[in-house]
């Protein structure tokens, strides 16, 4: 009763917003978790200890990944292989990502693009949820192993980015920012990424390391969810749900012009390599 009153008050204060819904669900989940621990007379410390090391490792690892993005862009021209990837797309698939995305923008309503953006950024929740599930169901070691696999994906991708730097279809798209029909956060991030990449490549002074992700090939935005599927493979329903989400994720990645078509098989390939590396023990 108290909880219902609390949730109602929270919704009235914050208004009906997606984050209010998230906060209410989270509050319910945390209270239920604490209540069950209390009923079983178990301490909360072991549960915290099964998740916190992996979470800290993930944050530290991603800081490294973003920093190395900046380092690579400072020494290698970020768009050196973009034209080649765009031409490869045209040759293999008979079309380019930019052509498809701008055609979709003409045909589809703004809400579809907004949903695509929510799906695109929602990928990070898959990683966070998998850390929680692995930690609570199998212990800290497995959660750390999952984060390790994600970081291996990133390190392989950064190595390929160093060898064949490519930025994304929005770089090769002629007049990309003038042709946009909708205002989306993705486009702000793309504009910022291009701006920072240019500044870093020209060695202009910067005061803060930007948290930008410059690489297109291979698509880590797909490789990471594939690692998630591998680690959750015992949870059949979760895998089915995430697999369906990932199909929409690929479509979102493409219509928002984050990656080339060929980045997708590239992402699948590095996920396969990482699964081969950690597979037997994961």
């Amino acid at each position: 009763m108290l909880l219902a009153v609390g949730c109602g008050a929270w919704v009235s204060v914050r208004g009906l917003h997606i984050y209010t819904l998230l906060e209410v669900i989270d509050a319910l989940a945390v209270l239920e978790f604490v209540e069950r621990k209390r009923e079983r007379r178990e301490s909360l410390l072991p549960s915290a200890a099964s998740v916190i090391p992996a979470a800290v490792y993930l944050v530290f690892g991603f800081l490294l990944v973003f920093t190395y993005n900046n380092i690579i862009v400072s020494v290698r021209f970020y768009g050196a292989y973009d034209q080649a990837l765009n031409q490869l797309d045209a040759r293999l698939f008979g079309m380019t990502v930019s052509a498809v995305a701008h055609r979709a923008a003409e045909l589809l309503p703004r809400q579809v693009f907004r949903l695509a953006e929510v799906i695109y950024f929602g990928m990070f929740a898959q990683i966070g949820a998998t850390v929680l599930i692995c930690g609570f169901s199998s212990g800290a070691k497995r959660a750390v192993k999952f984060v390790g696999a994600i970081l291996l994906v990133q390190s392989l991708a950064l190595t390929l980015f160093y060898l064949w730097p490519s930025h994304g279809p929005y770089y090769t798209c002629v007049g990309h920012f003038d042709r946009l029909r909708f205002n989306l956060n993705s486009y702000i991030f793309q504009r910022d990424a291009l701006d920072f990449a240019r500044r870093l490549w020209m060695h202009q002074p910067i005061h803060t390391l930007p948290l930008c992700y410059y690489l297109a090939f291979p698509c880590t935005h797909l490789a990471q969810p594939l690692i998630v599927l591998w680690f959750l493979r015992r949870w059949k329903r979760a895998v089915a749900l995430f697999a369906a989400y990932d199909v929409l994720l690929v479509a979102s990645i493409l219509i928002l012009e984050w990656h080339y078509f060929v980045d997708v098989p590239g992402g699948i390939a590095i996920a396969a390599v990482v699964i081969w590396i950690v597979g037997e023990t994961a």
Binding site: D26, A29, V30, T67, S155, H207, L211, K236
Partner: protein, 90 residues
């Protein structure tokens, strides 16, 4: 007999085979370790500051944590539907 025992290898082939999976499963520690050690010289050489935008990072972490707890809870209920009646009854 004593001479034959002394010539026998101290580690069996089985032990040697087990080293490879252990190396593979801990490879990420090696990669992250090497990347961490190499980070500072690289930043100094390129005149890049070791200053991260912490305000943005905390905001991002908060948002991802909120979403992750929500997704994990929903997944738990989907994979254990009988738990929903227990939660509802409470």
């Amino acid at each position: 007999m004593g001479l034959y025992t002394a010539a026998t290898p101290t580690h069996s082939p089985l032990q040697r085979v087990a080293v490879l999976p252990a190396l593979r499963s801990n490879l990420h520690f090696v990669v992250v370790g090497v990347a961490t050690v190499a980070l500072f010289p690289a930043l100094v050489r390129l005149h890049l500051p070791l200053v991260w935008p912490w305000e943005f990072i905390w905001g991002f972490i908060r948002s991802v944590v909120l979403q992750s707890v929500c997704v994990a809870s929903v997944l738990y209920v989907i994979t254990h539907p009988t738990e929903l009646s227990v939660i509802a009854a409470r």
